[in-house]
C-alpha cells in the first residue's frame, strides 16, 4: 500500500465510525416505533423499512464522500444489486444485523461496516445499537472495543470452550436436523456450552473479546462477516471455512 492509500483508508475508517454511530442512533429510535415487517427468502427471514432506510443513509453518506467507491449492502443485494467483490475500494454493509431481534426489541442489534480493497479486507466497524459499544479493527493495527484493545481467548481445549452459533432463516426439517446434529456433537465434546443471540456480528465480536472461543454458521452472507473478520483476525483469532479450508468471503 502506498502512504496515500494508508492515509486514505484511515480516513475512510474514521468516516465509517461516524456513520456507524449515526446509523446506530437511527436504529435506537426506530426500535421504539411500530415496525413494518416483511419477509425475504423465508417467513423467518425478516426485513423492515428501517433496514432499508439505514442502508440508504449509510450508502448515500459514503457515496457523497467517496464517489468512486463501490458498495455491497444487504438490502441493495436483496433488491437485485450484484454482490461481486472487485479490486475497487468496496464497502460491505449490514445496516441492521439482527433484524429479527430488532423487530422484537431483543437487545442484540448491530450496524456492521466492512471495507475491502483489492479483495483484501482492510477494516471493520461494528456498533452495538442497544448499548453503544463500538468494535473496530484496521488490518495491521489491532482490534478494539470502545478504544480498549481486545484479544481472543487463549483456550485450546474444546471441552473448555464456549461456542456461539446462529440458526439462520431456514426452518425445514432436513436443515434443522443437520443444525442440531452439529450442535449435539459440540455439546458432546463436551464443550462448556452453546449460545445463540440472534446477531452474527455481535456473536463474532464476542469471539474477538475472548468471551467465547468459536463461532460457526452456515447461511451467513458476506455483509454479516466482513467487518467482524477483520476484528477477529486483529484480535489474534482466525477465520476459516467450515470445511477447514481458507475462508472465501462470499462463500456461505
Amino acid at each position: 500500500m502506498t502512504s496515500t492509500e494508508i492515509k486514505c483508508w484511515g480516513e475512510c475508517m474514521d468516516v465509517a465510525v461516524q456513520i456507524a454511530h449515526k446509523a446506530g442512533k437511527v436504529v435506537q429510535e426506530a426500535v421504539k416505533q411500530e415496525k413494518r415487517v416483511s419477509s425475504k427468502s423465508t417467513p423467518t427471514d425478516l426485513v423492515t423499512e428501517a433496514d432499508q432506510q439505514v442502508e440508504d443513509l449509510i450508502i448515500s453518506t459514503l457515496r457523497e464522500k467517496f464517489p468512486s467507491h463501490r458498495f455491497i449492502g444487504e438490502e441493495s443485494s436483496a433488491a437485485g444489486e450484484k454482490c461481486i467483490l472487485t479490486d475497487e475500494p468496496t464497502w460491505i454493509i449490514d445496516p441492521i444485523d439482527g433484524t429479527c431481534n430488532f423487530v422484537h426489541s431483543f437487545p442484540m442489534v448491530a450496524v456492521s461496516i466492512g471495507f475491502a480493497v483489492k479483495k483484501e479486507l482492510e477494516f471493520g466497524v461494528i456498533y452495538h445499537c442497544f448499548d453503544g459499544t463500538l468494535y473496530t479493527a484496521r488490518r495491521g493495527h489491532g482490534a478494539f472495543c470502545n478504544g480498549t484493545p481486545i484479544q481472543v481467548s487463549k483456550e485450546k481445549d474444546i471441552s473448555k470452550a464456549l461456542i456461539l452459533t446462529e440458526i439462520g432463516a431456514k426452518r425445514d426439517p432436513a436443515t434443522l436436523e443437520i443444525f442440531s446434529g452439529n450442535m449435539l456433537k459440540l455439546l458432546s465434546a463436551p464443550a462448556h456450552g452453546v449460545r445463540i443471540i440472534g446477531s452474527s456480528t455481535l456473536a463474532l465480536c464476542h469471539i474477538a473479546t475472548g468471551a467465547a472461543e468459536a463461532y460457526y454458521q452456515y447461511g451467513l452472507h458476506c455483509w454479516d462477516i466482513a467487518a467482524a473478520a477483520v476484528i477477529i483476525r486483529e484480535a489474534g483469532g482466525c477465520v476459516i471455512d467450515t470445511s477447514g479450508e481458507p475462508w472465501d468471503g462470499c462463500f456461505r
Binding site: N101, L184, E213
Partner: protein, 282 residues
C-alpha cells in the same frame, strides 16, 4: 398498611448490587473452576463467596428468615420451602458465562413467605441492569416499568431455552427434539443467554415471548417468576399445570396462548426434584 417485605426487598437490591461488584472484580482475575455434577456443571470460589456474603448479611438483618442457596444446597443443606420467610438465591446464575467472561451473568434473589413468592431481584451485573418486582406492584428494570410482549401468534415469537449441563444422551436427545419441533412451528427465532434468570427477564421485558427449560433449579427461577408475573406474563409447568418451583421445570411466557401452544412441542424427561430427599438426588 406498611409492606411487610419492602425492607427485605430493598436489602435484596443492595446485596445484588454489592454481589455484582464482586463478580465484576473477579472477572479481572484468574479464576479456579471446579465441577459439580458433571464436567460442564461449573462452580467457582466467586459463586461460594457471593452466596456466603448474602447469607451472612441476611442472617444479620433478618435472623429468623430461612435460606435456600445453590451452593449451600450443593454443600448438603436441605432444599425445602417452608412457610417461614425464605430467601431463594442463585449467587451467580450463568457460571459458565462467568468463567468465560461472556456478558450475561446474573445474581438472582427470590423471596417467599407462606410458600408464596413475594418479590424477585435479578441483577445482570455486566449489563448493569437491575430487574425488580414486588408482588402486586409491577416489574421494573433500572426503574423503568416492564411489560411482556402482546404477541399471541407463536409463529411470530422468539423463544428462549438452554441446553443445560446434563449430557446424558437420552436427555440431550429430548432437548434437541423439543428444540427442532419448536423451531419448525415455525417461530421467528430461538435464543439462549446462558442464564435462566436473564432469559426470564427478557420475557418480562417483551424481548422474547417465552422461555422454557427442564433441569433448572428453584433458585434459578424464583426471582424471575415474580418479575415475569408482575410484567403481565404467566408461569406454568411444561405439562400445562401451574408452576411447581421444585419440579426442575419451567415455562415463562407472555400469555397463556403462547405458553399452551409451546407446551405441545416440549418433550419432557425426568429430573430429580429439588426437594427430594438428599440420598435420592443424582
Amino acid at each position: 398498611m406498611p409492606d411487610l417485605w419492602q425492607e427485605a426487598m430493598d436489602h435484596a437490591v443492595v446485596l445484588a448490587r454489592k454481589s455484582g461488584e464482586i463478580v465484576r472484580e473477579a472477572l479481572q482475575n484468574e479464576m479456579k473452576v471446579m465441577c459439580k455434577s458433571s464436567s460442564v456443571d461449573l462452580v467457582t470460589k466467586t459463586d461460594q463467596k457471593v452466596e456466603q456474603l448474602i447469607i451472612a448479611s441476611v442472617k444479620d438483618k433478618f435472623p429468623t428468615h430461612s435460606f435456600i442457596g445453590e451452593e449451600s444446597v450443593a454443600a448438603g443443606q436441605p432444599c425445602i420451602l417452608s412457610d417461614n420467610p425464605t430467601w431463594i438465591v442463585d449467587p451467580v446464575d450463568g457460571t459458565t458465562n462467568f468463567v468465560h467472561g461472556y456478558p450475561f451473568i446474573a445474581i438472582s434473589i427470590g423471596f417467599a413467605a407462606d410458600k408464596q413468592l413475594e418479590f424477585g431481584v435479578v441483577y445482570s451485573c455486566l449489563e448493569d441492569k437491575m430487574y425488580t418486582a414486588r408482588k402486586g406492584k409491577g416489574a421494573f428494570c433500572n426503574g423503568q416499568p416492564l411489560q411482556v410482549s402482546d404477541q399471541t401468534d407463536i409463529n411470530q415469537s422468539i423463544i428462549a431455552t438452554e441446553f443445560g449441563s446434563n449430557r446424558d444422551p437420552e436427555v440431550v436427545d429430548k432437548i434437541f427434539s423439543s428444540m427442532r419441533k419448536v423451531l419448525c412451528l415455525p417461530i421467528h427465532g430461538m435464543r439462549g443467554a446462558g442464564t435462566a434468570a436473564t432469559n426470564m427477564c427478557l420475557v418480562a421485558a417483551g424481548s422474547a415471548e417465552a422461555y422454557y427449560e427442564i433441569g433448572i433449579h428453584c433458585w434459578d427461577i424464583a426471582a424471575g417468576a415474580v418479575i415475569v408475573s408482575e410484567a403481565g406474563g404467566v408461569l406454568m409447568d411444561v405439562g400445562g399445570g401451574p408452576l411447581d418451583m421444585m419440579s426442575r421445570r419451567v415455562v415463562a411466557a407472555n400469555n397463556k396462548t403462547i405458553a399452551q401452544r409451546l407446551i405441545k412441542e416440549i418433550e419432557a424427561y425426568p429430573a430429580t426434584r429439588d426437594d427430594a430427599p438428599i440420598d435420592s438426588k443424582e
